[in-house]
């Protein structure tokens, strides 16, 4: 009968190796699969037997795009296990480092990976021919994010300066002054990015998502807060595994994280923004409203605008942190090993990143558990494909395929992250 199959065997402009297939019969979606064929790397297995001090450097290598997220979830989980708290300027520096990663990672996605979908190009380099000014702005903005990572972390990919308890070396106040000048430019560029993305054509599609993100008493969340949802969930990181589980779906050979009632949920910018609009700086709130965003955004195609608002917030917040910075007496809080279990959940650019470690009395890791954002979003990605594709059926195959790709890219999926834990389907057919 009228059977139509949309397949993309190697999805471009995402981090890692993924594919998807949508099967349509008589104008109805019969099946949608987002597949992962990235090879497994077994991080949870080889973390066993390592020292607790090694977790931030080793888990950073799960993802070259968001290494700080892994370092932050790892150090917070270890500090939870060891009973230490990092406060004051060291806590602020961690927030600043995370601002750098959000700026770098979000700007990469906005300008190089996602905007070409809206403007009809194969990639940013082709897009630069007609939109040179915008692409150059994006590259420079990304560079400022990388400069924060380089100054605080030593380098932009796999920073070397993060340790359990704080940093190896804390910056002098005067080191941060040139960065502030760059960030003032970046804040303007981010505002321009919000305006630029707000002018794209967005399919008017929305779903009643279950949003899950951290929420903190005062701040837009990076490293701390309770895990909340728009359906009344309000738990600590230590309770994560009581409320979420990974189920095995035979049709995709992939583990999907779901709520224990079986429902899909969404993590990342859309969820963070919709649950924490009131925690954004006044500048970011105003820019969001001017861009036509409500305080809750249910249209995943507008996630590119939400990412731009978060970049603006990160620039604003970084400037606030630098202005308030006082040099710490010591760059780290000393941590003595002890037996225990520690939990950490932080907001990676792509959403909630959960770590759990069980330590022996000498600080050796006995068990590790890591749940990255893309694993959690996988079920939601497939539901978007099922729900939205039917309404785009009048498009010819090529355009429909592109629209499906765009739908997946709304999530900025990071397959390298997800794969150490996702099951494989290596049938590339």
């Amino acid at each position: 009968m009228a059977r139509r199959t949309i397949t993309v065997d190697y999805l471009a402009r995402v981090e890692g190796e993924g594919a998807f297939k949508v099967v349509l019969r008589n104008g109805k979606v019969e099946n949608a699969e987002f597949r992962i064929f990235e090879p497994p790397r077994f991080f949870e297995a080889f973390l066993r037997g390592r020292a607790f001090t090694e977790a931030p450097d080793i888990t950073a290598r799960i993802c070259g795009i968001c290494p700080v997220a892994y370092q932050m979830s790892a150090v917070h989980a270890m500090e939870n296990a060891l009973g230490i708290t990092v406060a004051g300027p060291l806590r602020a520096l961690r927030r600043l480092l995370y601002c750098g990663e959000w700026i770098e990672s979000h700007t990469l996605h906005i300008y190089m990976l996602h905007a070409p979908d809206f403007l009809g190009y194969s990639g940013a380099i082709e897009m630069a021919r007609a939109h040179g000014e915008a692409v150059r702005r994006g590259l420079m903005l990304k560079q400022v994010g990388n400069e924060i990572m380089t100054l605080l972390g030593g380098r932009e990919i796999h920073p070397i300066n993060v340790r359990v308890g704080g940093f190896y070396r804390a910056p002098r106040k005067r080191d941060l002054a040139p960065l502030a000048e760059r960030l003032k430019w970046a804040r303007d560029a981010a505002l321009e990015t919000v305006r630029w993305t707000a002018g794209f054509d967005f399919p008017e599609r929305a779903r009643d998502y279950t949003f899950v993100a951290l929420r903190h008493a005062e701040e837009y969340p990076f490293n701390e807060g309770r895990i909340v949802s728009n359906r009344g969930l309000d738990i600590t990181a230590a309770q994560y595994e009581d409320y979420f589980e990974e189920s095995h779906l035979p049709r995709s050979n992939a583990l999907h994280a779901r709520l224990k009632d079986g429902k899909a949920y969404l993590v990342g910018p859309l969820a963070r923004y919709s649950l924490n609009f009131d925690r954004l700086s006044p500048l970011a709130q105003q820019a969001a409203r001017d861009a036509g965003l409500e305080p809750v955004c249910n249209n995943p195609y507008r996630s590119i605008v939400v990412r731009a608002v978060e970049v603006l917030y990160a620039c604003d917040e970084a400037l606030r942190i630098i202005a308030a910075y006082e040099e710490p007496e010591r760059p780290f809080v000393a941590a003595e090993p002890r037996a225990g279990v520690g939990f950490g959940a932080t907001e990676a650019p792509r959403g909630l990143l959960y770590h759990r470690y069980r330590l022996a009395s000498d600080g050796t890791i006995q068990e590790a558990r890591i749940v990255p954002p893309t694993s959690q979003n996988q079920a939601s990605i497939e539901e978007d494909l099922v729900n939205f594709v039917e309404s785009f059926l009048d498009l010819p195959d090529d355009a429909l395929r592109q629209r499906c790709e765009q739908t997946v890219r709304n999530y900025d999926p990071c397959i390298s992250c997800a794969t150490h834990f996702l099951r494989l389907d290596i049938n590339r057919g």
């Binding site: 190697y10 999805l11 471009a12 402009r13 995402v14 981090e15 890692g16 190796e17 090879p39 497994p40 790397r41 077994f42 991080f43 949870e44 297995a45 080889f46 090694e54 450097d57 080793i58 290598r61 799960i62 993802c63 070259g64 795009i65 290494p67 990469l108 190089m112 990976l113 194969s122 990639g123 940013a124 380099i125 082709e126 630069a128 692409v135 590259l139 990304k142 560079q143 990388n146 030593g154 380098r155 932009e156 990919i157 796999h158 070397i160 300066n161 340790r163 190896y168 070396r169 990974e246 095995h248 050979n253 583990l255 760059p331 790709e405 390298s416 834990f421 099951r423 494989l424 290596i426």
Partner: protein, 260 residues
């Protein structure tokens, strides 16, 4: 299909890895558009939506070989490439995922996956050069983007890349750092580690942890004696050599001399 213009065709390939080394190319914010002027970025799925086609003048390969499919795919990449350059510790040494080479991969799969029988993986993670001839290896976890630009420029110009193979110590001295090992008793892999990072860790008051793998003609047994004198036990010594370049021969062999 050969293109009409004369620009060399660049391809970027990914195997088991974190994406960080190919991201280094996109992190060349100042040079990226210039590189795109000098070469045709013909295949780079992380950044561009384009189909595989024809042959490539320069292939940059990230990642290690860990599955039967990838062992086959790298041969196809070699066939399509005039020059093949591997970038990063995964591609040049097997990466952190080569820790499986010292363990039972079936047990690893059972720890991570509920249905390990679905996992098709090799027992080892190996560098690209174990599978096909490689024209140049650029080390690092991650690679240094300045060195990446140098490598691309060198191949475009038909010369060898100027990438020194000496120890981190030389760069560290040149930076004027106080030796963290001599002055503070901080264990440091600098004396046996390949330079390229600008001696970053000692500049941040920490010891080198070996991101760039072994330098030319290293002497790890000698370093291990010094590290043991600083109080490192056998397990700690083994762990020190077993990270992102655990499968590189000098580090692998030295790690096997220590342990529980």
């Amino acid at each position: 299909m050969p293109s009409k213009n004369a620009k060399p065709r660049l391809a970027v390939w990914k195997f088991a890895s974190c994406d960080g080394c190919q991201l280094s190319l996109l992190d060349c914010e100042d040079e990226l558009l210039a590189v795109a002027q000098a070469v045709e970025i013909a295949y780079f799925p992380e950044a561009v939506r384009s189909a595989l086609s024809g042959r490539y003048d320069l292939s940059l390969v990230e990642g290690s070989i860990t599955t039967p499919d990838d062992a086959e795919r790298i041969r196809e990449v070699r066939r399509r490439s005039r020059y093949l350059v591997t970038i990063g510790a995964c591609a040049t040494a097997g990466g952190i995922q080569a820790l499986r080479n010292f363990a039972d991969v079936a047990e690893y799969a059972a720890v991570v996956y509920a249905r390990p029988d679905y996992i098709r993986t090799l027992a080892t993670s190996t560098p690209i050069a174990d599978h096909v001839p490689v024209d140049f290896e650029l080390r690092g976890c991650p690679i240094n983007k300045r060195q990446l630009v140098e490598v691309i420029s060198a191949f475009l110009a038909g010369r060898r890349p100027a990438v020194p193979p000496h120890a981190v110590c030389i760069e560290c001295k040149r930076n004027g750092n106080v030796c963290v090992m001599v002055a503070h008793g901080t264990p440091c892999l600098g004396p046996v580690t390949h330079t390229g990072c600008a001696a970053l860790c000692p500049s941040y008051n920490r010891g080198c942890y070996g991101c760039y793998g072994p330098k030319e003609t290293p002497n790890p047994p000698s370093l291990s004696r010094w590290l043991a004198a600083l109080g490192m036990d056998a397990r700690a010594l083994q762990r020190l050599y077993r990270t992102f370049n655990a499968n590189a021969a000098p580090f692998r062999e030295e790690s096997e001399r220590h342990g529980a």
